[in-house]
């Protein structure tokens, strides 16, 4: 929680615009603006919460840049926010008679904590280790957890989602649109996670996040004043690069009959989803319209189970494999 803040901002906005106006459509037009300056902020309290989804750190900033240019047969505009910051956003749009192109880059930070401490070190992605000497010392009652707490290292708990998007619309005839949309998002960072050895015994760790989601949608659509017909495909691929989390037991180095030396947990499974969509509508009399949408979607329900070293054989369950769903509706 931000208790108080002192913000010193120097900002200069520039605006350049020239409009050459014929009485009909302008022959060319150019407009632009930029908002830049420097910021110095004093935050008492939880700075991470103050900056949860944004980057308000000190220094120079270019928060808002706009550029619009239009000719007799085309139009282009560029938007950029919070440039070179964790939460930067860039978007460009180009339009001409039968073509529309959108390119976008967006970063969304999630800042959870900046004063977190842990004894764990990430040996490799998804493997969190504690110094063996500490584990052995606590197991043999030479140390206590409290006595080794000063060896815990500070780290920031945060993640960031980076997204790139492409949208292309091509219009071969007046009534026909062909569209292609591609969006890919990468999420990387850490989040707080209760890593459990059973009940009454769990540890708080920073679970790694390293995932990518890619969505593709392509479609063809015919429409005029009387009706509309659309056919589309949508595909979604989610890929988790760290499907398993392994962590040391801070209380033991070696396994015993009642407690293991390490724990293992499944994280988010990779998955895919595909759909084919048809939609149509017909204009009817009396302000009425008949509209229909049908989607057939397939989400392959196959995944590998987390291989568990510490799970007794008698507790293992077979994987349920190859469940399939078919749904009607529209996706995406």
């Amino acid at each position: 929680m931000r208790d108080s803040s002192k913000v010193f901002v120097m900002a200069v906005s520039l605006l350049a615009a020239s409009t050459v106006a014929g009485q009909e459509a302008p022959a060319s037009r150019f407009a632009g603006s930029a908002d830049f300056g420097a910021r110095l902020t004093d935050v008492s309290g939880d700075e991470a919460r103050y900056q949860r989804f944004r980057d308000m750190s000190d220094g120079a900033y270019l928060d808002r840049f706009r550029l619009q240019k239009a000719g007799a047969s085309w139009a282009f505009d560029l938007r950029a926010d919070h440039i070179a910051r964790e939460d930067q956003f860039l978007q460009g749009r180009y339009r001409r008679k039968n073509l529309k192109l959108v390119l976008e880059w967006d970063q969304v930070p999630l800042f959870i904590s900046r004063d977190t401490q842990t004894l764990y070190q990430a040996d490799s992605p998804g493997v969190l280790r504690i110094n063996d000497a500490i584990q052995q010392g606590i197991q043999s009652a030479q140390f206590t957890l409290a006595s080794v707490a000063d060896q815990a290292a500070f780290f920031e708990t945060r993640s960031r989602r980076d997204s790139g998007r492409l949208e292309l619309l091509y219009r071969p005839t007046r009534d026909l649109d062909m569209t292609l949309r591609v969006k890919t998002s990468k999420r990387e960072g850490t989040l707080p996670w209760g890593a459990s050895f059973g009940f009454n015994n769990d540890v708080e760790v920073a679970a790694p996040q390293d995932t990518r989601t890619t969505d593709v949608a392509a479609g063809i659509e015919w429409a005029n004043e009387r009706g509309m017909l659309r056919l589309g495909y949508g595909g979604s691929w989610f890929d988790n690069h760290v499907p398993t989390l392994v962590w040391d037991n801070p209380l033991r180095l070696s396994d015993s009959a009642t407690a293991p030396g390490q724990g293992r947990s499944a994280l988010w499974p990779s998955s895919t989803m595909h759909s084919v969509t048809t939609a149509g509508s017909i204009k009817l009399p009396a302000n009425s319209r008949f509209t229909g949408n049908v989607t057939v979607a397939r989400c392959p329900r196959t995944s590998r189970c987390c291989r568990s070293r510490s799970t007794p054989r008698s507790h293992r369950s077979p994987c349920r494999a190859r469940l399939r769903t078919l749904k009607c509706g529209r996706w995406p």
Binding site: E24, F76, D202
Partner: protein, 316 residues
Amino acid sequence: MGTNRGGSRRTSSVVSPAGLAFALVVCGLAPAWAGQETPAPAPTPEGYVGVNKCASCHQAQATGYRNSPHAWAFDERTPAAARGCETCHGPGQAHVDDVGAKGRIKNFKVIAPREVSETCMKCHNRQEHAQWQGSMHDSRNITCIQCHSVHTPKSERSHLKLASVTETCAQCHRDKAARLLRSAHMPVREGKLECATCHSPHGSPNVRMLRTGNSVNEFCWSCHADKRGPFLWDHPPVRESCVTCHDPHGSSNERMLVSRPPMLCQRCHIATRHPATRYDAAAVAAPSNRVISRGCVNCHSNIHGSNHPSGAYFHR
């Protein structure tokens, strides 16, 4: 943590490579595609007076029109490629001949809401706009011009009457806008999302006018694909609907939960091995790991589902 990947950096030192590539591509393509000719304006037919005549009196409206995509004559679907102002307002000769007389030209402030929508939908009749007729907004007699202003927009995009999508929606949906100010929220007030990121105000085949999918869950998975599964062990309320536990508009509880754990979990789990006494008011004061921090989710951390062979209770 020693290898907290990307976790300790506060600011990017440079614009990302993807951003640079994007700028280069756009800047490179723009001049190359700039050589098209504007189609010659069609001769003015009987009853029509042309844009110049309209602009001679309605200068403010004409300026707004010329600065909008409606004035892109190179796009054959725009009013500029047809009859300009009269594409939407109808032939203007009668209005010019008898200025001030009512009913001589189509005035969107006075005609019936259905007629307003009908006019806009002559061109805006594809993609999500095709869902307008019969949509929640249409069935409540909302018209295009209650949110959009063709001549005097305040927003950068979409010709909105107010500066942002969220402000526009908040004119009516005040309860939802108020929830955005709660401590746990989507990054809407930070400007990274807006109401229209999730909702399609022009209509949708999904519930709650959600933009994609055919259920709440399918829509949420479009960003939170990690919750999509497949899971060996499913948590039934997760499969049923994300909003069983989360309030996407904002909450005073962490992770936008509709109630704080363990009370949230106790809405269902009140039977064997989940006695209410363990989590009741008296226990809140006790330092139980079932009450502090994330409550039940301290141990049941895979609460959305687990693929661990022993993950039936979502604790691994």
